[in-house]
Amino acid sequence: MSGSSDAPEVEPGAASVEPGRSVHLLSEMLRVRRFEERCVELYSHQAIRGFLHLAIGEEACCVGVMQALDPEDAVVATYREHGHALARGISMRAALAELEGRVEGCSRGRGGSMHLFDAATRFFGGNAIVAGGLPLAVGLALADHLSGRHRVTACFFGDGAVAEGEFHEAMNLAALWHLPVLFCCENNLYAMGTALEFTESETDLSLKAASYRMASWHVDGMDVLAVSEAAREAADAVRAGGGPHFLEMRTYRFRSHSMYDPDRYRDKAEIDRWRSRDPIDQLRVQLVARGVLTDADVERMESAIADEVLDAVDFAAGGTDEPVADLGRFVTSTPGGAT
C-alpha cells in the first residue's frame, strides 16, 4: 500500500497477518467465488433473472474490508454486492433466495441481485444507481456523529462512480463535517464498457479524495492481506475520530459487466494478465508454501463451501413466492398508504 496525502505508510505483508486470519480470508473469498459461480449456472437455467453482476476476481476487496468492521458498523454497497453481503454475514441461503425472487430472500424477493438488504447486519443495500449510495453513507455517519456513537460506515463504489456529482458532493460533505465514513473504491478500470482513461481526466483516483483534504490510500486489490491491513488501519482511524478515509483498491473483474454484456471492449491478453493475479490462487499458494495449510486442508475447505452452496441452492429452490396480494405492502410504513 502506498499512502498519499497525510495517510500513514504501513508495509503490510503476509507475515504480519496471523495464520488463522489468513485462512479465514481465503475461506471467505472462496465462499464468494463458489457462490457466484453457481449463480452463473442458475442464471443459465433462468432461476436467476434480470441483471446479475459478478465480482469474480474482485473478492479480495469486499472480504478484506469487511474484516475490519465491527457488527455495529454500517455497510452501503452497489449492485455488484453478493460478496459484500456474504462477507458481512448475510447467509448464502438468504442471498440466493433473494436472487431467485423468493420471499425467504433477504429483501423478500423484491430486490433481486442488485438490492440485497439486511437490517441485522446493518447492510443498507444493494444500490443500483451509480454513486447513489455515497450520500446515504454520509448521512448514516452523520447520524452516528450526532448520536455520539463511534461507528464506521463503509461505503463501496466503483471507479465509474467517481465521475458522478453525487460522489463529489458526498466527499465534500464527509470531509467538511469530519464524518466517520470509510469510502471504499473498487477500481476495476472499467465502468461497464468504458475504460477509466475515457472517463477521468485524472486517473489516479486517490488524488480526488486528497483534493477534499481526506486521508486517502491505495492498495493492491488483488492482495487480500494488503486490503485487510489497509482497511483495518483506515477503519481504526475513522473510528477514533480521524474523519473520513478513502481507500482505493485496484482490482479487476474477470467476467463481463453483467450477463448481458458481450465484453467487446477488453482485450483477451489484458484479462489473462489479471487472471494470473487471481486473489484466491495467490493466497492459497502462499499459505500452502508457508505451511499454514496443506492441500488436504484446502480440499476440506472447498468441500465445506460446496456443501454450503448446495444447501443454499436447495433452500432457494424450495422457497416460496410472496403472495400477489402483498404487492402493495411496504410502499409506506402504514398499510393502505400506497395510493
Binding site: G50, G109, G112, A163, M192, T194, G328, V331
Partner: protein, 324 residues
C-alpha cells in the same frame, strides 16, 4: 422484404442523421466502445469515430447539460441516457435549462436537442431500473415527448425530432428493442404530432402508447373473439397530446379505456381521461376507465412484476366492466 428490429430501426435513423447533418453527434454512457447498453449504437463508433460517437463518464447531469449547451452553440446533439431512472440525475438540466431557456430568454435561446432513453419494466431489473416516468416529462411545458411504439416510428421519429427547434425526448420501451418485423411507408413519415389509430373498432376506444400498445392490441384481439370491436389509439406524442384524435375516436365508440404503465395518481392516464371527460362527456356511455401500473416501486420477482404491469387480461376486464 427483409425484417428489421426496433433497435436496428433506431440505429438506421441515427446513421441517417449523422450522414445528413454534420452538426449531429451522439453522446452518452457506453454508446461507443460498449456498443450501447441496448446495442442501439452498435458499430457507430467504428463508422463515425469518437468525436461524433462520444462515450461519456457516468455524469448524467453533466453530459445532458453539455448537450443543451452544444445545442445552444449550434450543434444538433442526440443524447442517450441509459434508462429513465438515471435521467433523474439530469432532471434539473432537462427541466430548468432545456425546457425553460427559450421562454426565460424572451425567445432568444432555443435548444434543438434530442434526448433518447429507455423506459419501462418487464425485464426483472427491479425498482431502480424499471419505471415509466415519461408522464412526468410530459408534464413539462417546453418539451416535446415522443414514444415510438412501432418499428416504423422507431425509424421515423428521429429526423423530425432533430428538425424541431426545441428539445425533444424520445422514450423507448425496453421490451421493444428486440421486436422484429418489416418497415412500411410510414417509416418515412415526418409526423411527430398526431396520434395514430392502430386498429379500427366501434365498441370501445383503448388508448395506449409505447410499451402498452402491444397490451392494448392483444386485448383488442381477445375482445374481437368475443364480438367486441375495439378501436386502439396509439398516442405517439405524449406532449403535446393529440386530443382531437382521441376525442374523435371516443365520441364514436362511447367508451374509453386508457392504458398506461406509469403510476395512476397524477399520471398521463389521468390527463387523457380528463381530456376525454372535458371534451366528449355527453358522448360517453360509461365512465372513462384506466388500467395502470401498480403504485409500487417495481419488484424483482417475476410474478410480482407481472402483477404490477398492465396485462391483456386487465384491459379486457376493464372493457367488460364498461358494459361493452
Amino acid at each position: 422484404m427483409s425484417t428489421i428490429t426496433y433497435r436496428e430501426a433506431l440505429r438506421e435513423a441515427i446513421r441517417e442523421a449523422l450522414i445528413a447533418d454534420e452538426r449531429v453527434f451522439v453522446m452518452g454512457e457506453d454508446v461507443g466502445h460498449y456498443g450501447g447498453s441496448y446495442a442501439v449504437t452498435l458499430g457507430l463508433l467504428e463508422e463515425f469515430g469518437p468525436e461524433r460517437i462520444r462515450d461519456t463518464p457516468l455524469s448524467e447531469s453533466g453530459f445532458v447539460g453539455a448537450g443543451i449547451g452544444a445545442a445552444l452553440g449550434g450543434m444538433r446533439p442526440i443524447v442517450e441516457v441509459m434508462t429513465v431512472n438515471f435521467s433523474l440525475l439530469a432532471l434539473d438540466q432537462i427541466m430548468n435549462n432545456a425546457a425553460s431557456l427559450l421562454y426565460m430568454s424572451g425567445g432568444q435561446f432555443n435548444v434543438p436537442l434530442v434526448i433518447r432513453m429507455a423506459t419501462g419494466a418487464g425485464r426483472q431489473v427491479a425498482a431502480q431500473h424499471s419505471h415509466s416516468l415519461e408522464g412526468w416529462y410530459a408534464h413539462i411545458p417546453g418539451l416535446r415527448v415522443l414514444a415510438p411504439a412501432t418499428l416504423d416510428d422507431a425509424r421515423a421519429m428521429l429526423a423530425p425530432a432533430l428538425d424541431d427547434p426545441d428539445p425533444v425526448l424520445i422514450f423507448e420501451h425496453a421490451m421493444l428493442y428486440g421486436t422484429e418485423g418489416e418497415l412500411t411507408d410510414d417509416a418515412h413519415t415526418r409526423d411527430i404530432t398526431s396520434a395514430a389509430i392502430r386498429r379500427r373498432g366501434e365498441d370501445v376506444t383503448i388508448v395506449a402508447y409505447g410499451g402498452t400498445l402491444r397490451v392494448a392490441l392483444g386485448a383488442a384481439e381477445v375482445l374481437a373473439r368475443e364480438g367486441v370491436d375495439a378501436e386502439v389509439v396509439d398516442l405517439r406524442s405524449l406532449r403535446p397530446l393529440d386530443t382531437s384524435t382521441i376525442l374523435t375516436a371516443v365520441s364514436r365508440t362511447h367508451r374509453a379505456v386508457v392504458v398506461d404503465e406509469g403510476w395512476r395518481s397524477g399520471s398521463l392516464s389521468a390527463e387523457v381521461a380528463s381530456r376525454i371527460t372535458e371534451g366528449v362527456f355527453y358522448d360517453l356511455d360509461a365512465p372513462v376507465a384506466r388500467v395502470c401500473g401498480a403504485e409500487v416501486p417495481m419488484p424483482y420477482a417475476k410474478h410480482l412484476e407481472d402483477a404490477a404491469m398492465p396485462q391483456v387480461a386487465d384491459v379486457v376486464a376493464a372493457v367488460h366492466a364498461l358494459g361493452a
